[in-house]
């Protein structure tokens, strides 16, 4: 039987990265995910890897870029304000096709003071955050077991498509403890990293020059054509979602991350009370499972989006259902208390479902 251990979400991020063969990690401390750095600082030297605490998030992401040039598996992790500082290097990595993994433990809003608190106010930011007109895949786990799987999957997707890949968690998922099954994963074969910069002696004397879109680029339209084709391949093969009790559902909750976990409890209690509720959970936030969601929404006839934010996921849901089904929204005002420690809890979600029936 697979070994099961109790683990926090943050420790699981680090453990999963090491399981995926990531030996190099660059980061700057920020609540609520510094435990990832603590774990890496402790474990990476033991396996001959490199842990480096940078002079800031901007530098951490550039270090990620620099280390990724070697073709090695590398990772950084941060939380919302830190991710904002990383956007320039991360955008550059997307454009220059330098693969790496970023884990974002989102927290509430910009600035300090809310540090360490839950919230899901980065959906739009992570799905539309890069400049340069391109996208990167975002995986959104909702349990410690999924964090373990998705961080490893993220490394695979990154290498498969030569693209920066993100895993988005939050305060609740990062800090919570639950059972983790230490499974091993085989996601399939990967292409050779012939683009890596390890000195031209490595490549029979042929030198590589990696760069971003610049004035020196001779075929801009061709470059974007290639990128659009790559996006399409990712959309076709990597779009992921999960449905829970939707087969006969006449009420569909759409949610991701910690609020999806709360929604699951609400679905079960609703079912116990004779309400045929189901849950649709996008697992990749980009690419967003539009078609699958539209089908489920049309089947159920009624949709409630639950997210701990003023309304971001709801925009993608509305785009997906194209006005063919009413879309209701339960957001940050539904927290059990108004303060930073507030959470959207299953009982409140169930109450909303009952009111909308």
């Amino acid at each position: 039987m697979t070994e099961r251990i109790l683990h926090t979400g943050n420790d699981t991020v680090a453990r999963a990265a090491i399981s995926a063969g990531c030996k190099h990690y660059f980061a700057y401390p920020i609540t609520p995910q510094s435990e990832i750095a603590h774990y890496m600082a402790r474990e990476l030297p033991k396996i001959g890897g490199c842990f480096l605490q940078s002079e800031g998030e901007y530098a951490a992401a550039y270090m990620l870029l620099g280390a990724a040039l070697s073709g090695e598996r590398v990772m950084t992790s941060t939380s919302s304000p830190g991710l904002a500082l990383m956007q320039e290097p991360l955008s550059m990595m997307v454009t220059a096709e330098i693969p790496a993994v970023v884990v974002e433990t989102q927290r509430l809003g910009p600035g300090t003071g809310t540090g360490g608190q839950q919230g899901q106010t980065d959906y739009r930011f992570v799905t539309r955050g890069v400049y340069g007109g391109l996208h990167y895949p975002v995986l959104a786990p909702y349990s410690v077991s999924e964090i373990f799987e998705f961080v490893q999957l993220a490394f695979h997707i990154a290498d498969k498509y030569r693209i920066l890949t993100m895993v988005l968690t939050d305060f609740v998922l990062g800090r919570m403890t639950e059972y983790l099954e230490l499974k091993t994963f085989d996601f399939g074969p990967l292409p050779e990293k012939d683009w890596a910069l390890k000195g031209k002696a490595h490549k029979g004397g042929r030198s590589n020059f990696l760069f971003t879109v610049t004035g020196m680029m001779l075929d801009i339209t061709g470059f974007f054509q290639g990128q659009q084709e790559k996006s399409k391949r990712i959309i076709d093969s990597e779009t992921r979602w999960e449905t829970y009790k939707t087969e006969d559902a006449d009420f569909l909750i759409v949610s991701y991350g910690y609020s999806a976990r709360m929604s699951k409890g609400a679905v079960n209690t609703a079912r116990a009370q004779g309400i045929k509720a189901g849950l649709f959970r996008p697992i990749t936030l980009w690419p967003f499972p539009r078609e699958a969601l539209q089908q489920e929404a049309l089947k159920a006839g009624k949709v409630l989006v639950v997210e701990d934010s003023p309304g971001e996921l709801v925009e993608d849901v509305e785009l997906a259902v194209q006005g063919r089904v009413p879309v209701h929204f339960l957001g940050i005002q539904a927290r059990h208390i108004a303060r930073a420690e507030g959470l959207i809890l299953p009982e409140r979600i169930l109450q909303e479902v009952r009111e909308l029936l």
Binding site: L52, E55, L65, G66, S70, V74, M92, G199, F209, F211
Partner: protein, 256 residues
Amino acid sequence: MIEETAITKNLVCKTPAFRLLPLGFCAGCHYGIIFRLIDEVLEEMELKGITVCIGGGGCSAMGAMAMDVDAFGGPHGPGTAIASALKRVCPDNFIFAIQGDGEQGAIGLGSFVAAAVRGENITIITMNNACYGMTGGQLAPTTPLGMVTPTTPEGRDQEMAGFPFHGPELVAPLRGVAYAARGTVHTPANRQRSKKMVKTAFQKQLQRLGFAVVEFICACPTNWRLSPVDCARYIEEKMIPEFPLGEFKNVEKNEG
């Protein structure tokens, strides 16, 4: 490799094995001389097979593009952070970064000093042309007092823009720094001195002694609005008095 032209035919020494020729620098610019010099040192030290060059934004990016070594170019400022991480992951590779003075003294100052503080075993080549060459010659941290630029139309005034920035002198006292020097290529003698500086700086990395930086004073005829000859005179009269040439630190062996 490149088409023979009237210019290349009459060269006294062989053309460097550049990936990109001709270089797109303005007439009288010193960058080409410096990149050639670096290329010669890499060749002579037999480093090309293991070298990765990190280029910056602006004119200095073209060096990384041109030299026939593995290279990354584009980001403006964080070259030292990129080089630091790559060197740590690939300690057996030779990693150097080319930076403009604005990258080192302004937007990338934090990363430059942080890498020096950590004693990263990398080499930094700084191009000090006293302005932001590619964006139109605006004020750089290294602009001498009184120099007119589009963003200092009355000349650099210390009240408004502070005093010129001295990168090598700034980091030389840090314990992680093995080598800090400044040279020019505006005369043949200086070119030879500067080449020795680059060689020494590269040596420090091979000996794993720590952070090394060589700054070059370079002419920017286009933005200085001077002829190449007058640029050399400006370097003598204005730049060198502000930015002294020579070695500010040269650590021979590890302090342990």
